[in-house]
Amino acid sequence: MKFKIYRYNPDTDTAPYMRDYELDIEAGDKMLLDAILLLKEQDDSLSLRKSCREGVCGSDAMNINGRNGLACITPLSSLKEPVTLRPLPGLPVIRDLIVDMTQFFKQYHSIKPYLINNDPPPETERLQSPAQRAHLNGLYECILCGCCSTACPSFWWNPDKFVGPAGLLQAYRFLADTRDHATSERLDDLEDPYRLFRCHTIMNCVDVCPKELNPTEAIGNIKDMMVKRIV
């Protein structure tokens, strides 16, 4: 199989370039990450992040043939040759396929991704009914791989001001949680022209999410909550 991989080492290269690789491999049921690791045996200077190799940790997010995804759960047989691999778009490149996710996590932290509840903790746990718990489905599964936010043109333009789809999905995850008591503060925090409303419903986030989550729907739900609050 033929590969074209983005290479950049800031210590030795003046500019990034695409390097061609060939690999003698039977696609079978192998995943893209298997092939990249074999390529790394050919050329050990090729750098990438990876960990769980089963789509749970979210480390090996990259731009695969122009589309963000996780290398470890992308079947080789689904890819057109040459397979073009680039780092996630819109974030500073540290080296090869490794990007600096500082801005992404800064936005994630800005929505306070934890339960805010000042009631004295009960002896066992804070209970929810099965129906209340069901509201968290499709929200809590996010692995923060960054595929969605780095596919979002609004995030490319304003990464310092727009929270991005990943952060907003998590914002709604806590707005939808009956155990959280900071609903009003959370809505206040998002009610400005940038943090939430830079979303123009482009829906690249929904298109690329490797966990098949729907940040656009979550953003719509946050807007609904804001409208309900004022009418």
Partner: protein, 115 residues
């Protein structure tokens, strides 16, 4: 001055909602006007001025035009926010767009009620 990233101006929801509502007004007006044009086989100057001589049509047209101007103001501001970074230049463009829209609104009243 400290160069902090500032967010938190509380007009995000208001403008987003107004843009949706003005869009509905524009859609309704477009359907009404398109319907009129399709059902009017002999469209001449008399028919056209006749249409705009009725008060409800003039009011609806003004409502439509005000919706266009407000909708456009929010849209243009969004584009300027993305592409024009210096705050001073941005403010000047914002003010110009507002003034031009106001001018158009006054002009629209003159045209609609001037005949």
């Amino acid at each position: 001055m400290v160069n902090r990233v500032v967010t938190g101006a509380h007009y995000g929801l208001r403008d987003w909602l107004i843009q949706r509502i003005t869009a509905v007004v524009m859609a309704l007006y477009s359907v009404v006007l398109a319907g009129y044009l399709l059902l009017q086989p002999h469209l001449d100057y008399d028919a056209w001025t006749g249409l705009f001589s009725s008060q409800p049509m003039r009011t609806f047209t003004l409502l439509f035009l005000l919706s266009v101007f407000y909708h456009a103001w929010i849209g243009i501001r969004d584009i300027v926010m993305d592409y024009v970074k210096p705050a001073g230049v941005r403010l000047v463009i914002h003010v110009l767009v507002i003034l031009v829209s106001l001018l158009y609104a006054i002009w629209a009243v003159q045209i609609l009620w001037g005949f």
